[in-house]
C-alpha cells in the first residue's frame, strides 16, 4: 500500500445529515403557501411589503456581519425567515420605508444585539414588529380589505409613502375582525376567517395555508408540534369555558382560534427553536402560558391583538422554564438496592 494521508476526526464518524441550512430552508418553504396566498388576497401591495421585509433583513444581516468582521451568515436562510415573518405580520398597505426599518430592527436589535443566530432571546421578527408598533401605531393598525378589485392594478398610496411623512389614510382600510369585535362587538364567521376572506395583516389571515406549512414541517420533523398544539388547545379551552359561561360577553372559541395572528404566531413564531424551551414538557408549559396570555390580552387587555406580546413574554420566560423543567437524568433520584 502506498503512503497516503489519513483523515483524522473524532467520534462519532457518522452524522444524521441534517443541518441548520436544511432546517431553515424548509421553514422558508413552509411559509410559501401563506405568503403566496397573501399576495393573491392583497395584491401587489402585500408582495412589496414581503419583498421589502426580506431584502431589509438580508441586507442588515450582511452589513452587520461585515462590520463585525465575521463571515456573512445570509446563506443560512434564517434572515429570510425573519423577513417573511415580519412581512406577514404587517398590514398589506404598510409603507415600505417603515417595513424596511422593521427589518433593520428585527435583525439588528432582535438578533445581533444578542449575539446572532442561536443567541437571540426573542423571536427577531416579533422584536421588529414590536418596534414598529411603538413607532407607528396608526400605520400598523390601518388595514385593508382583502380581494379588492384593483389589488393587482394599482398600488395603494400609503405603500409608497415618502419616509417620515404621515401616510395618507383613506377610506379603503377595513376593521380587522378582532378590532371589530373588541370595539364594536361584531364577530365574523369562523369559516371566513379560516380561509382568509377577511381583512388583516398580510399573512395572519389565512389559517388554512399557515396550518399547511406547519404540517409540512412537522412531517419533515423540523418543528416541535407540541408548541402550536399547546397554544391552540389552551386558547380553545380557555375561551371555550368563558363562552360557555357567557356567550354574549365572550366570543366563540372558534372565532378566537382563527382570528388575528394566532395561527401565524402559534405555528411559525412561537416555534422559533432558539427562543423556546428545549424539553417536551418545557414546550408544553410554554405553549400553555402563551395561549393563556393571548386570551387574557385579547379579552381584558387594552389591545385588540395579544399574540405578539404573549409570544414575546413566552420567549422571555423560556430560559427559566428550561432551568426548572429538565428530564430526569438516567439513574438519578433512585434508591440503590
Amino acid at each position: 500500500m502506498k503512503k497516503q494521508t489519513l483523515h483524522i476526526s473524532t467520534s462519532p464518524h457518522l452524522a444524521q445529515g441534517t443541518s441548520v441550512e436544511v432546517i431553515m430552508r424548509n421553514v422558508v418553504i413552509a411559509l410559501m403557501p401563506a405568503a403566496l396566498f397573501s399576495i393573491y388576497a392583497f395584491g401587489w401591495n402585500a408582495a412589496l411589503v414581503l419583498i421589502t421585509a426580506v431584502v431589509s433583513c438580508l441586507l442588515t444581516e450582511h452589513i452587520l456581519c461585515r462590520l463585525a468582521n465575521k463571515r456573512s451568515t445570509v446563506s443560512d436562510w434564517s434572515a429570510i425567515i425573519t423577513g417573511l415573518l415580519l412581512g406577514l405580520t404587517l398590514p398589506p398597505i404598510f409603507p415600505l420605508w417603515m417595513t424596511f426599518l422593521g427589518g433593520v430592527f428585527a435583525i439588528g436589535m432582535g438578533k445581533f444585539l444578542f449575539g446572532g443566530l442561536g443567541y437571540n432571546v426573542f423571536n427577531p421578527a416579533l422584536v421588529g414588529r414590536a418596534v414598529l408598533q411603538g413607532a407607528f401605531p396608526v400605520a400598523i393598525t390601518t388595514w385593508y380589505a382583502s380581494f379588492s378589485a384593483e389589488r393587482f392594478t394599482t398600488l395603494h398610496s400609503a405603500v409608497l409613502a415618502v419616509p417620515f411623512m404621515e401616510p395618507v389614510i383613506d377610506g379603503t382600510s377595513g376593521a380587522t375582525p378582532l378590532s371589530a369585535f373588541k370595539f364594536d362587538g361584531i364577530t365574523s364567521e369562523a369559516s371566513d376567517l379560516a380561509l382568509g376572506l377577511v381583512s388583516g395583516s398580510t399573512g395572519e389571515t389565512s389559517s388554512v395555508f399557515i396550518l399547511l406549512g406547519g404540517l409540512y414541517l412537522v412531517w419533515r420533523n423540523f418543528m416541535n408540534w407540541r408548541i402550536p398544539v399547546a397554544i391552540l388547545a389552551t386558547v380553545f379551552v380557555f375561551s371555550g369555558i368563558l363562552y360557555w359561561i357567557d356567550p354574549i360577553e365572550y366570543p366563540s372559541p372558534l372565532f378566537m382560534l382563527f382570528s388575528g395572528g394566532l395561527m401565524l404566531g402559534a405555528v411559525f413564531m412561537a416555534t422559533d427553536m432558539v427562543a423556546s424551551p428545549i424539553t417536551s414538557w418545557g414546550v408544553i408549559i410554554y405553549g400553555i402560558i402563551i395561549g393563556a396570555l393571548v386570551v387574557i390580552i385579547r379579552l381584558w387587555g387594552g389591545l385588540p391583538e395579544g399574540v405578539m406580546y404573549a409570544i414575546l413574554l413566552g420567549n422571555a420566560i423560556s430560559p427559566h422554564i428550561d432551568r426548572l423543567v429538565r428530564y430526569r437524568v438516567y439513574g438519578t433520584s433512585l434508591k440503590t438496592s
Binding site: 494521508t5 467520534s11 417536551s280
Partner: protein, 442 residues
Amino acid sequence: MKTAKQTFKHGIHPPENKEETNGLPIRQFSFAPLIILPLAQHIGAPSKLVIREGQEVVRGQILAESDGYLSVPLHAPVSGLVKKIAYVPTISGKMTTGIYLEPFPSSTQETLEGEAIDIDSASPEEILIGIQQAGIVGLGGAAFPTHAKLKIPDGKHCDTLIINGIECEPYLTTDHRVMLEQSDDIFLGIKYLMKATGAKRTIIGIEANKQDAADLLRERLPKNEAISVEVVPVKYPQGAEKMLITALLGKEVPSRGLPIDVNAVVVNVATTAEIGRLLPHGRGIQERVITITGPGVKKKGNYLIPIGTPLRYVLEQVGVDESVSEVYMGGPMMGVAVANLDISIVKGTSGIVVFNKEQIEQAPQVYPCIKCGACVDACPLSLNPSKLGILAKFESYEKMAEEYHLMDCFECGSCSYVCPSHIPLVQYFRLSKSIVRKRKVA
C-alpha cells in the same frame, strides 16, 4: 417465545450497514511476517515482560505477566523469535513498550497449554484466576480486565448475568458471527461465568437485527439451566451496559454506579465464548474475531486475526481502495480514527472500518446551538448536551459536572450524530471530563 418489548429512553437509529458482512463466516487470517505486541493491551497496568530479546517463544507462552490485580498476562500469538523489545506506536498516539515477534516460517497451530480450569471442580475464585491467567479482557471494545469486572464487591450479590450480544455499532458483525458459529463455547462460558459470579439466571440480550442468532441460541439452549434469550428493538446505543440492563431488567443503574448496584453483571458475548474456549485447556488469548468492512475495503469479512498483527498488513491482505482516507478501529460511532497504520491489532479491536473520500464529510460548517432539542431527545441518559456544550464553551467545567451530570456521559456520540449545527459535542465532553478528573486529583 418471549420478546422483550422494553427499551431505554431516547437513542438514535443510524444506518446499520451490516448486510455486507453478517452473512460471511469467520475466516482465519494469515500470520504477518512480523507481529508487534504493545504491552498495554487493556485498561489498567500494562503487562510485565518475562522474556528477553533474542529468545525463542512458543505459541501460547506467556510473554508478559499481569502486573497487579487490574492487569492480565499477554500470550504469544505465534511461535517465533523475539526480535526486539522497543517502543511501539498505539492508537492513542502514545508510544509504549512492545514486543517485536518474528514468526517461524513453519509455525504450526500447536499451542502451549497451562493449567486447565475444570468447570465442575473449580471454585469461583479459581475461575476468576483462570480468566485472568487467560489474558481475557472485554472484547466488545472496552478492554477492561474481565476477572476484575466479575469480582463481586463485599456486601453485593449478583442475581442476573447478562450476556451482551447487542452489537449496536453500525457496520460491525463480530458478535453476530460469534453467536452463530460458537454457541457451544458461549454456553460453556456462561457456565463458568455463572459459577464465578453466583448468578441465578442468565439473559442473553440480542438486537432484533440478529434474529437468526437468537433463534439458533434458543434452539441449542442447554436443558436445566436458567438461561434465556431476549430480543430487543434495534436502537443505538442499546449495547451500552446501562441501556441493556434497563431494556432487559427494567431497572436503572444509579448515576455513577455499576451494574452490580442492581445485582447484575454484563459480559460481552465474544468474551464469554473466549472464556468457554480457553479455560478448559488453560490457554490464553492469541487471536480475536474482527469485522473488516466499510466502503474502502475489497475483501470485507469477519476474520480471526492474531493479536499483534500490524494494521498495515491487515489492510494489505483485505485490499483497500487507493482513495482510502479514514480508518477506524472499532465502530463508526465510538471508534477511534487511526493516524498511523503502523499500529497493530490489540485485544480490544472489534472492528476495522475503512471509509473513502466520498464518505468523509468535508468539515461541515459549525453553527451555534439553535436549541433545536434534537440532542436532548437523543441522549440515552437524558442529559442536556445542548446546555453542556454551551457550558463547555464558557469553560464552566464544575457546573457541567455538578449540575448537569457531565461525568455520567459515556461518549456514545448520539448527541453529535443528530446535531444540525454540527457541534462536536462529544469532543467537548471528552475534554471537559478529563479536565474535571485532573482537577479532582489536583
